[in-house]
């Protein structure tokens, strides 16, 4: 019977994908590539077809690409119905219906949720509304910020020195704009890479002329008489005048629309099994709802079966492909999503790449190159195993370390490597901040072992 259902689904079923960005698009392509012939609907809250976000904080801010022209190339025809510019507002699991903001309802036989994340706004709403206070997540955000940078502001103030904030600061310096960066932690990138690497990132910023303020928080944004931001007040009581403020405080998962649906969805994302099937709030796996991309949190065998939320471009692609495959195949053919976490960033002309889960690392060894030269490979260890690696301008060695992580290779790294320096002979503490404190730039969140431990409050459905 089950086999018949899958055959029927593949032939004439209805699949709805909520979220029309990278994961949604790649899932749609995979469904068609693997023979799904039924009806396919993509729902997206932005009025644009799927576009790529990484260029928005790099080539776009440098004026080397248009914010309006980063649409993703399609790998194949997907023959889908597009519902763009209409957010999904609710989900009825028993009736198998997605509710839209315009009042429409779309029925599905199988659903993929790929609603991703949005930029965390400045918490004080009145200050957030000041002209010149910007976020950077969407192409509209990028277009706005680019125009403001082009206008030649006296100073840009970036709140939060995670990857996104640091990339904005880099673009400012490259285009000659004075920039101040404020970070609550002791250095940039500490949430993602720890304090040792963070110190390298801090040097990189200050040497490139960034006015970097660490260990401080922004207490308020001050506007002028016509509602434009004019200054930023800090917890050390200093005041910095700036006419553009970029709020770069990480992201919020787009799960609000699922409140009361009965899915295991909350601020930390939507829990799913390794096959991308969503859990309901009781921790029981659903049959017809799948999750992929930034909004998903799924268990990973290489990392102690912890649920990982990965805000990684490559994860969105890989998880979308796996979810799509699993949506239209028989049980025995399903695949687990066991992608090796990997991300990249570039700032101040330095290429930063990572594999594994650095934030799980207690210790760090510089196995190749040197921190002082800012060309190195750093290997993170956890409980005697290699758990992650990061490179600064040394990417060609990275896949070796990815294989070491896959094999659970021992840590510390005892064997010799080319370009090993005296500083790389002993492990040091990786120096991650207390995970209970908020930082601005984690790209991987360890979100516990099961959907039950996220203390989700269940609101009964409102319909």
């Amino acid at each position: 019977m089950v086999a018949d259902y899958v055959d029927w689904l593949r032939r004439e079923g209805r699949i709805v994908i909520v979220g029309a960005s990278l994961a949604g698009l790649r899932a749609a392509e995979t469904l068609r590539a693997e023979g799904f012939a039924g009806e396919l609907t993509l729902i997206g809250d932005e009025p644009y077809e799927p576009y790529d976000r990484p260029p928005l904080s790099k080539s776009v801010l440098l004026g080397k690409a248009s914010p309006h022209r980063t649409e993703l190339p399609h790998r194949r025809e997907i023959d889908a119905k597009w519902r763009l510019g209409v957010p999904a507002t609710g989900l009825d699991l028993s009736a198998k219906r997605v509710r839209l903001a315009d009042g429409d309802e779309v029925e599905y036989d199988r659903l993929l949720i790929a609603t991703g994340v949005r930029a965390r706004p400045w918490p004080k709403e009145e200050e957030a509304r000041l002209d010149g206070v910007c976020l950077l997540r969407t192409r509209d955000d990028a277009a706005d910020l680019y125009q403001r940078l082009k206008a030649g502001p006296r100073r840009v103030f970036v709140i939060g020195a995670g990857f996104a904030g640091s990339e904005v600061a880099s673009a400012c310096r490259e285009t000659g704009i004075p920039v101040t960066v404020a970070e609550r932690a002791g250095a940039p990138l500490v949430g993602a890479l720890g304090g040792v690497i963070g110190a390298v990132a801090a040097d990189l910023q200050t040497e490139n002329g960034v006015d970097l303020r660490t260990g401080v928080t922004v207490t308020s944004l001050e506007g002028d008489s016509v509602g434009r931001v004019r200054a930023v007040h800090l917890s050390d009581e200093s005041v910095v005048e700036a006419d553009v403020v970029v709020v770069s405080l990480g992201s919020v998962r787009n799960t609000d629309w699922l409140a009361g649906s009965g899915l295991g969805a909350g601020p930390r994302g939507i829990a799913c099994d390794a096959g991308c099937r969503a859990f309901d709030f009781r921790g029981i796996v659903t049959d017809d709802v799948f999750v992929a991309g930034d909004v998903a949190r799924s268990p990973h065998a290489l990392f102690g079966y912890q649920f990982l939320s990965l805000e990684h471009w490559g994860n969105a692609v890989a998880q979308a492909e796996t979810a799509a495959h699993n949506m239209i195949c028989h049980g025995a053919d399903r695949r687990p999503h066991l992608w090796m976490p990997a991300f990249w960033s570039s700032m101040f002309g330095v290429n930063i790449k990572s594999v594994g889960v650095p934030s799980m690392g207690d210790q760090l060894m510089i196995t190749q190159g040197s921190l002082a030269e800012r060309r190195f490979v750093g290997v993170y260890g956890h409980q005697g195993r290699v758990i992650a690696a990061v490179t600064f301008d040394n990417t060609r060695w990275l896949e070796f370390y990815a294989r070491q992580i896959e094999r659970g290779a021992p840590f510390p790294v005892e064997y010799p490597t080319v370009d090993r320096r005296p500083e790389g002979r002993q492990p040091v503490a990786a120096d991650f901040p207390d995970p209970s404190l908020p930082t601005h730039g984690p790209t991987v969140t360890l979100s516990g072992y099961s959907p039950a431990d996220q203390q989700l409050v269940f609101h009964p459905a409102r319909h």
Partner: protein, 409 residues
């Protein structure tokens, strides 16, 4: 039975025209060590790819020598220290970055792209030079003079000096051949030739230090970027490397390419009608008939476990690029020359930090050469198949390629 070892048969000149059946046999033992203390020969795609990115593998000539090898390039034996191809980071990276600053992005992003017109003119001149002939030796009349002219102009070496440096380049290249490099005498000859070539280039370098021109020698000797300047010795070793690598491999790429196209006339015909096809043809050639067949100069600095075999620290490693390129575990129908294949992620230029420095130039040269030969030679065909080969098993290619044709278009 005392059959010659598989590795000896591969390097045996008698098998030069078609080593591929031997490579196939080799892949049956993908990690092969045939004699105590001998090299470990690696022939599967994924293993080669992994080892090219493995920081436990050294390219440093000193490690190779320490591991019991001959004096292939110990500085004391030669007077000329190793170039960056035989160094590990950080020296390798620093020298390669400085060399790159006069060659490619980010500092000189358009140097190669801007040479296209000039390359086209050189090719046109050489083909016009065939005149009324109805038969040519492609190697002597085209595939050799073309890249030599290009690398001379790029570096700033007078083209008319070619006979002089030829006399030094030949023994240096012969020194790379596994069959001859075992002889101490050919070693000494190679080292002496390298020194001579370095001294010749030193004359040009001194000149450029005083009067810089728009060429790479001038840029190398006057480099002063964030990595500082090269020493004169570093300029010379780099110039020797670029001069040799700049043509000795490209001659094989072009000749192997034309040979392969003449063996696949339907592809040659398509190229004649669509010069753009040369892009895919060259990539497939780099898989199917790579000009550098073997990376012979690596050493492990730690024990390495591969497919259940422990390769002990200090072992020499030979990476059989050409065998990996036809690994059926990696490529569908690998023995077929098929420029339409979707997946051509070849090892033709190596990979990792030592991947071919001149790859973009070699690509452009081969694309222009092959598409123009296809367009202009009327009804070309091979006079003999297989053609006579060069001795070298590492830099493998025909010594002559006689082509008959009905005239020029």
């Amino acid at each position: 039975m005392t059959q010659a070892s598989l590795f000896r048969r591969i390097t045996d000149f008698a098998n030069r025209a078609d080593p591929y059946p031997l490579y196939e046999e080799l892949r049956k033992t993908p990690v092969l060590c045939e004699e105590e203390g001998g090299p470990y020969v690696i022939s599967s795609y994924w293993d080669i790819e992994a080892l090219l990115h493995d920081p436990r593998i050294s390219s440093d000539a000193a490690n190779l020598a320490a591991a019991g090898d001959d004096a292939l390039s110990g500085p004391e034996a030669t007077g000329l220290p190793p170039s960056f191809i035989r160094l590990d980071p950080p020296e390798h990276d620093r020298l390669r970055r400085i060399a790159n600053s006069s060659f490619g992005p980010p500092h000189r992003p358009r140097r190669i792209e801007n040479m296209r017109g000039e390359l086209g003119e050189i090719v046109t001149g050489l083909i016009d030079g065939f005149g009324d002939a109805r038969q040519i030796d492609l190697v002597d009349q085209f595939a050799y003079p073309f890249p030599v002219t290009v690398i001379c102009r790029l570096l700033g070496v007078p083209r008319e000096d070619e006979p002089r440096f030829r006399a030094w380049v030949d023994p240096i290249v012969a020194g790379l051949d596994p069959d001859t490099r075992t002889s101490a005498e050919s070693e000494r000859t190679a080292q002496e030739a390298r020194l001579q070539l370095g001294m010749y280039l030193n004359g040009l370098v001194e000149q450029r230090a005083k009067e810089p021109r728009d060429d790479m020698l001038s840029d190398l000797v006057n480099s002063h970027g964030p990595d500082g300047a090269m020493t004169t010795m570093e300029v010379l070793t780099t110039a020797v490397l670029l001069l040799i690598a700049g043509h000795e491999t490209t001659v094989n790429l072009i000749t192997n390419g034309m040979l392969t196209l003449l063996r696949h006339p339907e592809v040659l015909e398509r190229l004649r009608n669509d010069p753009g096809l040369s892009v895919r043809i060259v990539e497939e050639l780099l898989r199917y008939e790579p000009p550098v067949q073997i990376v012979p100069q690596r050493t492990c600095i730690a024990d390495i476990e591969l497919r259940g075999v422990t390769i002990p620290k200090g072992s020499h490693i030979w990476l059989m690029l050409a065998a990996g390129n036809r690994d059926p575990e990696r490529f569908k129908d690998p023995e077929r020359f098929d420029p339409d294949r979707e997946d051509i992620q070849h090892l033709g230029f190596g990979s990792g930090i030592h991947s071919c420095f001149g790859a973009p130039l070699a690509r452009v040269e081969a694309q222009i050469a092959l598409s123009e030969l296809a367009r202009r030679l009327e009804d070309p065909r091979l006079v003999e198949d297989p053609p006579p080969y060069r001795q070298n098993a590492v830099l493998r290619g025909p010594r002559h390629l006689n082509i008959a044709f009905e005239g020029l278009r």
